[in-house]
């Protein structure tokens, strides 16, 4: 909290107080000296000593007064407990002053010295009590407090002046003026204690304890005032020993204390609203926990939070500084203020502290160095401000900003309440966010499952025998959807084409290209008579359409009506070929992936190769198969996979081989998440005896 500086004091408070006490001691010593040795001293020296006594007393009181004012300004904000202590000890001290002092024997030899000591003690008590009163006035201040305090100083000065005039001229007719002064002091005290809301924010026990001691003090302070105003009492004489009029000033102060104590009693006794307020707090928290468990939209929840925050404090407007899914904290859900005005207040210094999750309290913008520049321009709607963060250990959800068009609108009790309210709000926000995220996840999951279903339908269920070859394929995406693809097509002239392709990348992006590829192939197949032409025309369709970073690899096997086969490999992992029980050959024919070069270059680089008629088994696959386990350095590799193919080649049918390899690969993957999509197509010549092409019969 920023403490307003009423006086530009540089000296430290403790050195001021020490100096005042030393001067007071010096005064007592000087008085003692002149009293003890007065009769033997020459008149000039005696006069000098008396002048010194007056000087030390006045300086001591001045310096001490200065120290008290300064200490009161810098004093920690007096919470209700401190105020109660002050009321209690002031009462006890005043009672002591009234009862103990008159019992001291009069007309003693060193009577004047005793008086000086007693006067000093009363002054110390008065200093201590005024320090408490000033602290309360400073800290529960309003915009008018500095002006009113100046008024008090002025009345004290006038009172002192009147006393001196009376003393020096023996004029007795100033009583009316002095009475007016006393009246003005009472009025000023009432105005200074206008801020009393803090009293209602304390607990019931505290309020009544405060009121009890205030009642005691009101009585004893009034009595003390009367005692001191009457110049004939012992206490008045003891004070007058220090300087003329000091008893009146001290009496005035006791009058102010008494007035303030009466105000405290009246406020507590006549205090309404406390019980209603508690009920509202309770309602707010239960309401909020109910809200948190409902399926509200975030906007509804934000609105509820702001409404409750406004209800819990004396704020005139409020908004949320929200850190939602958009990533950039922003002003949202305003009440009683528009965005432009709110933005004018969100100065960088405040945003900085807000983002650091601090509770920020600005009692009066005009007093605050950060807001000083804009304070006047926003005064009509913003004079005090509170920011309460809404955050748990991990997440910062935002902050509630509360604003009042009055200065000092937020008491300590308000802040405590808002601070207590913040965790409940944070939980409500967290619940709401979790619920929304869960719903969103569920929806995305549903969409993805649907996409997966659709993608699976893009792949052929059963492939019929193709010119004497049995063809079986399967595909397993690493995520819900992927970029792997296999299919078969009939080209013009009766040639069948079996194709395996892989779009680079993973997930939805690859899946969409894969779907496009299916459409392109289906459209182009009837227009092409051989596999090379087919693949080149697919490339042509994709040229300039694929993103720069995306490419497609594919391997296509052409099966002529006579069962003879050709291969085109465009950047794809090389297929395997084998006889029914024999060594596996790797078909690394020349080619380049789709999307890397122009169609003309592609056509030049990518060759078509006729396959040996003795090969009765062909295995096409995508790189996910050979790269399985790459993250744990247990990659299968081309050789490892060729061994597996070789082991499976004794099996009777393509279906068995495909299923066998799928089982083995799944076992290898174990519980690991697939790194990449895996796809495989196995082709097997249906008859064991290869029929020559001349016979015109398939296989």
């Amino acid at each position: 909290m920023v403490v307003h500086r009423f006086l530009p004091l540089q000296q430290t408070t403790s050195s001021l107080l020490l100096l005042g006490i030393s001067l007071g001691g010096a005064h007592v010593i000087v008085v003692t000296l002149s009293e003890t040795f007065g009769r033997w001293l020459p008149p000039l020296v005696l006069m000098l000593l008396e002048a010194l006594a007056v000087t030390t007393s006045l300086t001591a009181i001045g310096v001490l007064g200065w120290g008290v004012i300064r200490e009161s300004q810098q004093h920690e904000a007096p919470d209700p407990r401190r105020v109660r202590n002050w009321l209690r000890w002031s009462s006890i001290g005043t009672v002591g002053m009234l009862l103990l002092l008159p019992s001291i024997v009069e007309h003693d030899v060193q009577h004047v010295v005793y008086l000086a000591l007693e006067g000093g003690a009363i002054l110390a008590l008065v200093g201590w009590i005024s320090h408490g009163l000033l602290s309360v006035f400073y800290h529960y201040r309003t915009a008018r407090t500095p002006f009113l305090l100046r008024g008090v100083s002025f009345v004290f000065a006038v009172t002192l002046l009147l006393e001196w005039i009376e003393h020096l001229t023996d004029v007795e007719s100033l009583k009316a003026a002095k009475a007016i002064n006393v009246l003005v002091l009472v009025v000023l005290t009432l105005l200074l204690s206008r801020r009393r809301r803090w009293l209602r924010l304390t607990t019931r026990a505290e309020r009544w304890s405060l009121a009890g001691w205030a009642a005691v003090l009101a009585g004893v302070a009034a009595f003390a005032a009367i005692t001191l105003f009457d110049g004939q009492t012992h206490q008045a004489q003891a004070l007058r020993e220090w300087f003329v009029g000091s008893n009146i000033l001290a009496g005035s102060l006791f009058l102010m204390v008494s007035t303030y104590a009466v105000v405290v009693v009246a406020t507590v006794v006549g205090g309404e609203g406390a019980a209603e307020r508690k009920a509202f707090e309770f309602d707010a928290i239960t309401f909020l926990s109910r809200v948190a468990s409902q399926h509200d939209t975030p906007e509804e929840l934000y609105q509820t939070i702001i409404t409750l925050a406004l209800g819990l404090s004396d704020a005139t407007s409020a908004w949320l500084y929200l850190n939602d899914d958009t990533g950039e904290p922003r002003i949202a859900v305003l009440a009683g203020i528009d965005v432009d005005r709110a933005e004018a207040l969100m100065i960088p210094e405040l945003i900085g502290r807000t983002l650091e999750r601090d509770v920020v309290v600005i009692p009066w913008l005009r007093e605050d160095e950060r807001f000083y520049r804009i304070a006047r321009s926003v005064e009509s709607y913003a004079q005090s401000l509170v920011v309460v963060p809404l955050a748990d250990n991990d997440t910062y959800y935002g902050s509630i900003v509360l604003l009042s068009n009055q200065p000092f609108a937020f008491e300590r009790g308000d802040i405590q309440l808002l601070d207590a309210f913040a965790p409940a709000v944070t939980i409500a926000l967290a619940n709401n966010r979790l619920m929304r995220e869960a719903l969103l996840r569920e929806r995305l999951q549903r969409e993805l499952s649907m996409a997966r279903e659709i993608q699976q339908k893009l792949l052929p269920d059963d492939i019929p025998p193709l010119n004497g070859w049995e063809v079986v394929g399967w595909s397993e995406p690493a995520y819900e959807v992927g970029g792997d693809y296999f299919d078969y097509f009939w080209l013009s002239g009766g040639t069948a084409c079996v194709l395996v392709a892989d779009v680079s990348g993973k997930g939805i992006r690859a899946a969409l290209y894969m779907a496009k590829l299916k459409g392109v192939c289906t459209a182009l197949a009837p227009m092409c008579s051989d596999v090379h032409e087919f693949v080149v025309r697919i490339h042509q369709t994709f040229e300039g359409v694929l993103e720069r970073r995306v490419y497609i690899t594919l391997a296509a096997i052409g099966i002529a009506p006579d069962g003879s086969t050709t291969i085109v490999r465009a950047g794809h992992p090389p297929p395997f070929a084998s006889q029914s029980k024999g060594k596996v050959e790797i078909l690394s024919t020349r080619g380049i992936a789709l999307g890397l070069v122009s169609t003309e270059r592609f056509s030049e680089i990518t060759e078509v190769t006729e396959l040996d008629h003795r090969w009765q088994q062909l295995v096409l696959y995508t790189d996910g198969v050979i790269e399985a386990g790459v993250t744990s350095n247990k990659e299968l590799g081309l050789d490892g996979f060729s061994d597996l193919v070789s082991q499976a080649s004794h099996l009777a049918s393509a279906a068995e081989i495909a299923e066998n390899l799928r089982t083995v690969l799944r076992q290898r993957a174990g519980e690991h998440i697939l790194h990449d999509d895996m796809t495989m197509v196995v082709l097997r010549c249906s008859t064991n005896t290869k029929v020559t092409s001349e016979s015109g019969l398939p296989c």
Binding site: S504, G505, K506, R548, R549, V550, Y551, T553, A570, G571, H572, P573, P574, S588, R590, G591, I592, A593, L596, V597, R601, I605, T606, V630, T631, L638
Partner: protein
């Protein structure tokens, strides 16, 4: 992906820059390399040698970075050459047909010389 990735840049004089790759270049680490090359292009440094001696793995996303920049680099009169590929990466590049679009050399010196004595 716990395998670390690093891309270190080293100027070789005559406007030639070497990018030394280390570890796993995949979808998670490719943006690092992307930023590095984009930065080079911004300051018109377009003679780049990619040293793959310590590169363990490259995914399609990693290759995608080179594909994205090769055209702008060549259009600016520069080139992007690869050297010291390990067996696995050489196989992947070869399989995809990358040797048809990129200049790939066995040793670093060959790539450097290729820049210094431009062939036709």
């Amino acid at each position: 992906m716990n395998q670390g990735f690093r891309a270190d840049l080293e100027p070789k004089g005559k406007g030639i820059f070497v990018i030394r790759l280390r570890g796993y270049l995949d979808a998670y680490t490719a943006p690092q390399l992307d930023t590095l090359i984009a930065g080079l292009l911004e300051q018109n440094s377009n003679r780049i040698i990619v040293d793959c001696a310590e590169l363990d793995y490259i995914s399609s996303a990693g290759l995608g970075v080179f594909m994205a920049y090769i055209e702008p680099i060549r259009a600016a009169g520069g080139d992007l050459k690869f050297c010291s590929l390990n067996e696995r990466i050489a196989m992947i590049m070869d399989m995809l047909g990358f040797q048809h679009i990129f200049h790939i050399t066995e040793h670093f010196d060959q790539a450097l010389r290729a820049f210094e004595i431009p062939s036709d």
